[in-house]
């Protein structure tokens, strides 16, 4: 299988020499094309730091992150923005939709900053809106939408540019269980249609939708499990087992 992402022995330190915090400690893994991978860990385990490093929002202290053949730890300034805009799609816990723009305009913005022409923008949004079932709310403003709708719009914005990698940071964190379920099913749908998704969560239910879960503790990989052929319910139980092993201190692990 083709490798989309290769994280190679990265480390991330915070603080000064006198009080050093190792947020990520010599961590390596790979993501294959079309995979739906979940990074799971408690608060402070380093999973968000890891995601920030992959998304180039933060810089690693040492090590390399390769997206396809490109070493993104070496990128600078506008190269970073270009990379982010072209190769990555983001889904955030708090949606990060622009409240002054309609759903349509929010999605269009991801394309217009890449200088895509309005007619192509329209086609692409039509397609993605159908996939994510947000056709009816395209002309609504964020304040007129439910949390689930907002997150689906945000997801539409993330995938409309056909990114190599979709990064989702606690995408269900602000959603009620029904909306969360619906969103995750959409993720499965996207995954089946070839998208590569890297999701970060501390919620076992959310993680159970992924095909592979990597558990992170204190900045290191604690364990990795695959869904394989088992059902979502069975995979969820497996995850809970590891969570228990982890010490059960993943807050609100259900």
């Amino acid at each position: 299988m083709e490798k989309i992402l290769k994280v190679d022995k990265i480390e991330k330190y915070y603080g000064s020499r006198s009080s050093l915090t190792k947020a990520i400690d010599n961590l390596s893994f790979k993501v294959e094309k079309g995979e739906f991978l979940c990074l799971m860990g408690a608060s402070g385990s380093g999973k968000t730091t890891l995601l920030n490093c992959i998304s180039t929002i933060d810089k690693v202290t040492s090590g390399h992150i390769l997206v396809e053949e490109l070493d993104i730890t070496k990128l600078k300034g506008n190269e970073l923005n270009k990379f982010r805009r072209k190769e990555l799609g983001f889904i955030f816990q708090d949606f990060n939709l622009l409240d002054t723009l309609t759903a349509y305009e929010n999605i269009a913005l991801a394309l217009s900053i890449q200088s895509v022409s309005p007619s192509i923008i329209e086609q692409k949004i039509k397609k993605v809106a159908e996939e994510l079932d947000i056709k009816d709310i395209l002309n609504k403003y964020p304040y007129q939408m439910s949390g689930g709708q907002k997150q689906r719009v945000a997801s539409a914005r993330a995938i409309v540019t056909d990114p190599k990698l979709i990064l989702a940071d606690e995408p269900t964190g602000s959603l009620d269980s029904k909306s969360a379920k619906m969103l995750l099913e959409k993720f499965n749908y996207l995954d089946e249609h070839g998208a590569t998704i890297l999701m970060v969560t501390h919620d076992a239910f959310t993680a159970s939708y992924a095909r592979r879960v990597i558990f992170i503790k204190d900045g290191k990989i604690f364990k990795e499990i695959r869904k394989g052929e088992c059902s979502r319910k069975e995979f969820f139980d497996k995850i809970i087992d590891v969570v228990t092993l982890l010490g059960g201190n993943l807050n609100d692990a259900l």
Binding site: L98, L111, P118
Partner: protein, 692 residues
């Protein structure tokens, strides 16, 4: 002590983001001081007593203006502090949840206002004192006075006045802050920033209709102040277009706020390019909530532009006028044969013997007072004016009288016209260095330079109205008034002199004798000495009750009066103009900055989805530029008509100097307004920058 420290920390923290506020405060204090300390500079100048009187008058007017200015600055400060408090809702919320009482929060704000007040006053005063040193050179230059010596000037009275005025403003702010803190609720404070603002799009058809109506009303107001200018007679007449203009300005912004976005959205290629959709949305959400303040700012800018250009035109024209309209040193005149209008002069307060003895020429009268005026003159001329009750405006207007009378009911049509022999006038013209004329025996002509009167007289001249004078019928040589004047003055005030052939004039109708001359000396001090001597001829002299002294109008007097007036006009114009300009620019800047901190989240979001820093900066720049330009554009359109109106009012001063004043005004506005724009942009950029 804790509260005290908190306040100090807060100021330190916000000084960077709100540099514009502190900057404006300091500038406000400095300008206030400079203009109130203007008189202290004149102390060491070598000026005459009449100039000193003018300066005193100017200072009285300036302190009146200062009260008005302090209202504007007070409004600005309260407005600004409302912003600053709003922005810190969350901080106050945290204090309250920690158990701090509202009284203590008020106390924090009290300390902050106190510190800001003290700092801005101190820095502003220091700046003001420095600026007023520069100003002293300007003042000296304006009054054409020699600086006897350069000395460091400090006006303690202006300093105290500044401190008192600004202290009152700051105390008002403190009261206002305490009030707004006591009113707020904890839940609102904590959630303040999260409150989603509803985006309402106005009905586009309603917007279009209102836009069109406002434009029509505005057009009508423009029409009223320019084309229909002459029908504006009373205060109410002038108020009407002003109110119409202000209201339509509001509605134009109101409807534009709904329209601009709609229009832009229909241009898909434009709207979905780069961050245009974002910028336009930002702008439209902002303008929706700021229609009122945009209107106020637009009107303030409009006033600034008109005030500055009108005042500068007036000043420049006045200075240019003196050279043209006061070409020689002195003009003495005396009214003769007062008996002819006995009742009129009696009611003006002249006594019987003065009226009876009024048959001496200027020369003879000075001799009577044992003053040999001719010995002081290098050269002179002696000319006469005639009047007759048989030649008034009623006669010169001829058949056009009724038409003119209905249009201008306030003119005095029964005043006798001034008549002059053509040879006398040509003597004057030659002496003044202006155009001479010739007339045939059956012709007359009118010289005038007061524009409104010229227009009225031309109506009759175009119609070839003949006049009957001393038994002769005369027809007009020209079909319009010709340029010229007899009496020296600082303005174009010659309402008309009828020039007629010499041989028809009846000496019995002699009305006024003029003696016009140049002094032998050119030294200003010596001239002043001569004129003082003439002015003192009637001091303690009983002769005055029997013989009227000639009245004089001299170049020196005219010049000093003009200089004083033009200085007054310039300083008041500059003072108000600059204050208006910095206030409106500061309000815009502050609004934008407080928005920028609210917008920070949005810009972070843009960065997260990978927008280039360049594109973000461009969007921010455009957003601020539109925000600054919108009121300015409408203000400029207003100003075109405002200046046209001002030009008509200031007609007597002449308006040849309009263009340079407009250029100077433009430069002032570009520097101050543009400066504020750039500061706002850089501060906003700083605010939205990610801080790790």
């Amino acid at each position: 002590m804790m509260l005290y420290k908190l306040s100090l920390k807060n100021i330190k923290k916000s000084i960077k983001d709100y540099a514009i506020y502190f900057f404006t405060l300091i500038l406000g204090v400095a300008i206030f001081y400079v203009f109130n300390a203007l008189d202290s500079q004149t102390v060491m100048m070598d000026v005459s007593t009449s100039t000193v009187e003018l300066i005193n008058l100017m200072m009285t007017m300036l302190s009146g203006v200062s009260v008005f200015v302090s209202f504007i600055l007070g409004f600005l400060i309260i407005y600004a502090s409302r912003f600053l408090i709003k922005r810190r809702n969350k901080e106050f919320g945290i204090y309250l949840t920690l158990g701090m009482s509202k009284r203590k929060i008020s106390l924090i704000l009290f300390f902050e206002t106190l510190f800001i007040g003290i700092i801005s006053l101190l820095v502003g005063l220091v700046l003001g004192i420095l600026l007023s040193q520069v100003m002293s050179l300007v003042v000296a230059n304006m009054f054409e006075a020699n600086l006897t010596k350069f000395a460091f000037v400090f006006s303690s009275s202006a300093c105290i006045k500044t401190i008192i005025y600004f202290s009152i403003m700051y105390i008002l702010v403190m009261i206002f802050n305490t009030y707004s803190v006591s009113k707020c609720k904890l839940i609102d404070l904590l959630n303040g920033s999260k409150k989603a603002e509803k985006i309402k799009l106005k009905n586009p058809y309603l917007c279009i209709i209102i836009f069109i109506i406002s434009c029509l009303v505005l057009g009508k107001a423009y029409h009223m102040v320019t084309v229909e200018f002459l029908t504006l007679q009373e205060v109410m007449d002038i108020l009407k277009p002003i109110i119409m203009g202000a209201v339509s300005t509001f509605f134009i912004f109101w409807s534009l706020s709904g329209l601009i976005l709609r229009i832009a959205m229909s241009f898909k290629k434009f709207y979905y390019k780069d961050l245009n959709s974002f910028t336009l949305r930002q702008f439209s959400s902002k303008i929706n909530t700021t229609v009122f303040s945009t209107t106020i700012i637009c009107l303030m800018l409009f006033i600034t532009i008109c005030l500055l250009s009108a005042c500068l035109t007036m000043k420049n024209s006045m200075n240019a006028n003196i050279r043209k309209l006061a070409p020689v040193d002195a003009d003495f005149s005396i009214i003769m044969n007062m008996e002819r209008y006995y009742d009129d002069f009696r009611s003006m307060g002249f006594n019987d013997s003065q009226i009876k003895n009024s048959h001496y020429t200027v020369k003879e009268m000075f001799q009577l007072y044992h003053f040999d005026i001719l010995s002081y003159f290098k050269n002179y001329i002696d000319v006469n004016l005639y009047t007759t009750p048989d030649l008034t405006m009623n006669h010169t207007l001829g058949s056009k009288l009724e038409m003119v009378r209905t249009r201008f009911p306030f003119l005095d049509y029964d005043d006798p016209e001034a008549i002059m022999k053509i040879s006398d006038y040509n003597q004057v013209a030659k002496f003044y260095g202006i155009k001479e004329y010739s007339l045939n025996n059956d012709e007359y002509m009118i010289v005038a330079d007061f524009k409104s009167m010229v227009d009225i007289r031309n109506i009759a001249l175009e119609n070839k109205e003949t006049i009957n004078l001393f038994g002769h019928n005369l027809k007009p040589k020209y079909n319009s008034c010709q340029d010229g004047f007899l009496e020296m003055s600082s303005q174009h005030i010659n309402t008309g002199i009828i020039l007629v052939p010499d041989n028809i004039v009846d000496e019995e109708y002699l009305y006024e004798n003029h003696l016009i001359g140049n002094y032998k000396t050119t030294n200003k001090k010596e001239i002043r000495k001569i004129e003082n001597k003439i002015n003192k001829l009637d001091d303690n002299n009983p002769k005055v009750n029997e013989y009227l002294l000639p009245s004089g109008s001299t170049k020196l007097d005219i010049k000093e009066a003009t200089v004083g007036l033009s200085a007054m006009v310039t300083f008041i114009g500059l003072y108000l103009g600059v204050i208006f300009l910095i206030s409106s620019a500061a309000i815009l800047g502050l609004k934008e900055l407080s928005e920028s901190s609210d917008n920070k989240e949005r810009f972070i979001c843009l960065r997260k989805i990978g927008t280039d820093e360049k594109m973000i900066n461009k969007a921010l720049f455009r957003q601020i530029a539109i925000f600054f330009m919108l009121p300015l554009i409408l203000a400029l359109i207003h100003s075109i008509f405002g200046i046209m109106f001002a030009v008509k009012i200031l007609e007597v001063f002449g308006n040849e100097q309009l263009l340079p004043s407009i250029i100077v005004t433009a430069i002032v506005i570009i520097i101050i307004y543009g400066g504020y724009f750039l500061i706002t942009y850089f501060c906003s950029k700083n605010i939205i920058k990610e801080r790790h």
